[in-house]
Symmetry: D2
Subunit: 395 residues, 4 copies
């Protein structure tokens, strides 16, 4: 029973295991760096690759003992659950097609989960995972890490406190340019799996980065999608999945929005950006310049808010790690969601409530993302007909 565990001092560390992260992997290293930043958890177990050589190589690199280096996540889940000093949570950083099975394996063995996005392939799977986590009383993070930036928490605070007034228009986009050619044919593994439905799921661009758009817009505004109309397109010849999407959104309450994820937008790296227009004020923020936010109040000159600078509130201060003027970046955003998750988990294990629960994205966000992907594909296939929106389902 994990719950009996007692963290005597604030400094005691959690233990986690990693699924994925073998040589050549990218995102697992980002998870690890984010966690290390928090100083809240240690990597003690893993199933790093299906290839046994790669698996052991990674274990050696990470300093994991042989008896906690597993061939399958199932084995890992069972054996870690059986240990007195078993892992407190599992990090799942594999390609999309194993997210569901791996998450389920750990949940079924009473182990908390942090899974990369998208959560899984179908809404049914998502519901199953969300229900399982709820029923077992486990924490489940889905790592939409862009929401970890302090100014995103400030934006959300502005919306909630009514400083923007009634939200009218949301413009959110995530243009990238790296798939403007057949990058997947040039030996780029990151490109290759993204274009393979068996690994990536039913959507390409929408599944990979469109869900970040949906999650960011929802996190900041709290708006629920009433219906959406999507136009998916594949521009690069021979590609199976879409590489660009235009998505018009009607929110409950009357606001409208537009989401544009694209992987053929030459000149863009990770230009995730959000603009929210309310009846009293507006805000603009770009992921590539995460330490500044533009705020425009009705009838006043636009203001430049900076992380750590004047005019910010409690939420941004909570997640600021260094003085204003010293830029924070993506690793710090990852650290923030992991710190919120680990803090909450430490308290959860001791049966205590946590103020940090709202600062990391959960399985519900993951489920909303999966629903969004399916709705976009469904709408696009129906000549961009309006379909019910991403936020209809909840556990």
């Amino acid at each position: 029973m994990k719950r009996e565990k007692n963290f005597g001092i604030s400094g005691e560390r959690l233990k986690y295991g990693l699924v994925g992260g073998g040589p050549g992997s990218f995102i697992a290293a980002v998870h690890r760096t984010g966690i290390d930043f928090t100083r809240a958890a240690d990597l003690v177990a893993g199933c790093f690759s299906r290839d046994s050589v790669k698996n052991r190589t990674a274990a050696l690199e990470f300093g994991i003992s042989n008896d906690r280096t597993y061939s399958t996540f199932d084995e890992m889940a069972k054996r870690e659950a059986a240990r007195d000093d078993g892992i407190d949570f599992a990090v799942i950083a594999t390609p999309n097609n194993t997210h569901y099975a791996a998450s389920r394996a750990f949940l079924e063995n009473d182990i908390n989960v942090s899974c990369d996005k998208p959560l899984c392939f179908t809404v049914e799977e998502a519901l199953e995972l969300a229900s399982l986590a709820r029923d077992k009383g486990l924490l489940f993070m889905v790592t939409y890490a862009y929401t970890g930036y302090p100014l995103i928490h400030h934006a959300r605070e502005l919306v909630r406190s009514g400083q923007l007034g009634a939200i009218r228009v949301v413009m959110c986009e995530y243009p990238q340019g790296w798939l403007s050619d057949r990058t997947e044919d040039s030996g780029n593994l990151q490109a290759k799996w993204r274009e393979d439905p068996a690994q990536a799921g039913i959507a390409g661009c929408v599944g990979d980065i469109g869900t970040h758009v949906e999650n960011l817009a929802h996190t900041v505004t709290g708006l629920e999608i009433e219906s959406l109309s999507a136009t998916l397109a594949t521009f690069v010849e021979g590609r199976t999945l879409e590489d660009n999407a235009m998505i018009t959104v009607r929110y409950k309450g009357g606001a409208v929005g537009h989401y544009w994820p694209s992987q053929v937008a030459i000149g863009h790296e990770n230009s995730l950006a959000i603009r929210v227009y309310g009846s009293e004020a507006s805000i603009e923020w770009e992921q590539e310049k995460p330490n500044v936010m533009r705020m425009m109040k009705k009838g006043q000159p636009p203001m430049i808010l900076t992380r750590g600078g004047p005019g910010l509130g409690r939420a941004a201060a909570r997640w600021t790690r260094i003085h204003a003027g010293h830029p924070e970046g993506a690793f710090e955003a990852w650290a923030n969601i992991y710190e919120a998750f680990c803090n909450s988990l430490k308290r959860h294990i001791k049966g205590q409530p946590s103020d940090d629960l709202e600062y990391f994205p959960t399985v519900i966000d993951g489920m909303r993302g999966v629903k969004f992907i399916h709705d976009c594909v469904k709408s696009s296939k129906a000549d961009s007909a309006w379909v019910n929106g991403a936020s209809q389902y909840c556990v």
Copy 2:
């Protein structure tokens, strides 16, 4: 017969008359400044206001003699046509609801026309005006002045010469914030007529600024709209016409686009902006910073092109009025379309072809704009159904 006229020296000036421009008007003064800039035409006649006092006041201010100050545009058209020294062209700078009748009056009297946008209220009117101009052999400019910026001509040249490759995605927007409240109730006349269907036509935001979006996107890319799906919304209570629109566009040939005109986007002044993504390169341009353009070639660092700076072509050079580093602005854009119009008209009168014909927007652009407005309204009323696009009609 105007055509017999001979401009003996390059410096000879055209003569023009003005409809509108009485005390308190805004846009007529912009037309006049643009024309003055060119030194190509003199104001010699006018029908400045229906109010006879205002009409004579304006005439006095502009130095127009009593016998060329007219009570109606019909009278002006007939009497100027009858003079040996009659006007070469009429400038129509009245509210939208007189554009059609005034334009027709001058065309019927063999007088060339420069009319503000939108051209008129219905596609049938637009067709009639376009046909009349064609049959009479008259020049007809519709003053989409944003296309007069030198870097827009450069953007068009880049597209035509294939430097962007095949166009894939067009993102074009025109957010303003000035109507985020009931500005029309506060005595702002500019706001008031725009929200009155009798004066503004069937659309608000789309008619006023959405047509600029459509015109800019078409001018730069040359793409024809195959179909569009529009979602119009009115956010300010009590307002009759829409103040925000989301418009998804499918172009002939497979490109897609999104247009966003808004008048409730707090913090924006005239943030008309276009981004064009091709298979080889992309460009970004903002009307409020018209002297710079970002160009992003595949696999290369983004470049900042400046008006007058290195890397530009013939078209931008043709319309640059001052050295790089000395900013040009909106008046120069107006001057450019008027210079292209006046140059072409001088040659047209002498029966000569003109290279400048492609550098000013014509009645065909005006007609396309009217069609666009109607298509947007039609689509929005049909739950954002796809409707045939703006470029289906041509004379």
Copy 3:
């Protein structure tokens, strides 16, 4: 006696003559465009070139009659002064070496003057011209046109009204890159005369653009230079005059400043920029983006002020020609100083005071500029010793 003249209606136009402006000249065309913009004065006479063919060619182009096309400015000054309908002011737009003689010729003949910068070559000449204008009761503008931008007037208003508090630091620079090579050897006439002491005077970069830095800083802050320390350098081999200068400034009252004019700063066009730091607030402005100004109040987020936007005062409003969001540029800045000059001149001729007198740069600014050039050269030659500053002399 010019003073007897009566402008019966506000619209009556002044008459001016132009010295310089023959084929191939640059700055004279800018003067003319600025004046045309104001609709306050007509070009009626000129001495456009020493080359008689060029002189007559320009006269033909400008529509100037033969009897008012003069071979020398002396002839022009005398004969125009003798006419009942003689010119109200002369515009001197020749290379630097004729500024003094031409200005004196017109002043001596009781004709008001608008002269390009720098005013002349020596402080004694400058004093003579300033005294002459004062004694004759004539208006004398020196066209430091960058001070005509509306936001510069706003900046000055902020300083005067104490909104910046006590000024502490002024950073002002004008980097250009066009002389980073021996441009003067490639047939570029603009480069050639600038590097010839006989035509340009004792300084290169400091005389050409350093004076703009000095004038802008003085106009905005009102600070008087107590002493300065200059380090002039010539980087391009074979060049006679300096192409870069570092100038440290101590102002009366304790503030300090740094001026950096350069013509070897590759990548810059006309990047004149000023930053003023006070005890209560700071401002930043760049000539190439003249429609925005950054204002930073102590303890508050930075604000972006826009020409025509919220938060501006009377002075900026006075000189704004078009709504916010429609960019104004360099020609409008020229128009503004000419409008202030012409308005003042009309009233001056009628013996009336003018509120616009403070909105154009005068012979006193010109004299300060000449003193500044000499002080910089003197300091640099004395191993950057402190020398008395530019504002010691006044008439």
Copy 4:
């Protein structure tokens, strides 16, 4: 003998001790985060505060055993040196006035050092430390962490490879606004010690941030200061040390530069910025936007280089931790200098050379900084006379 130590596998970690870092300290936490990022060293010993309660509190927080928690750095140096498992290096993160004594203590006990900047108070002290390190064969880093940004390494590579041509002008500045009032009176400890000569040394602003300017300019350009002329000023009444400095620099070889550190520049946070102008190209970089650099080649449009993006070389790639488009920040810059230091130290201990030696700032940089501070103060006291520059001394 440390040198006999053998790191059997690449992953073996170094051990380090920390001087400073008790409750409330700022910079020590930054050192620790930077080191943790590298996964190359563990904190095992410390002397965290002179206050024994604070010392033990910190030890508890950091998980340091009692026997390795020391009351003085002298004791720490001696006892760690005596252990078989003693620390490999000491991190000195105390106020400036203990840097010298603490550094010496560790060096004398054969322990490598990483010391915060400025290195010490006098040039003689600096020379002594540098000589000691050299004679003992120890590595000594001085943590000018801003040089750890990947684009700074790229800038240096551009200079070295001749892509900028001959360097002509260097503009470097570090404006801050946080001391524009008597912040030191409001209980801000960071402000207080900086304004106390006993703790901060002979200079305020120049010692605190001016040395960063000097170090950044030297790191990027490699230029040696021949002489400098400084004007120090104190604007806030009652303050002992200067809060603003204008420093003109002549480099060996003929280039000139200007350095502006300020702590009264309202609106600035940590706006360290450098611009380098060469005969072939120029570059611009700002610390607050560390992932982009502007490069301007002669006769070409300016380019925007991004960390991880196209057009970069080996050095930037070496220090890039995450894909382009995911911003890196200040912690990563700290991690980079610590990774270079730790990598070099591991190899150094084994008697091997290291390619990373050039990627961290050393005691020589620290010495140059101390010399720079003294030269600035000396020049300013002598009415800004030229004094020999910072790079005259070397070991």
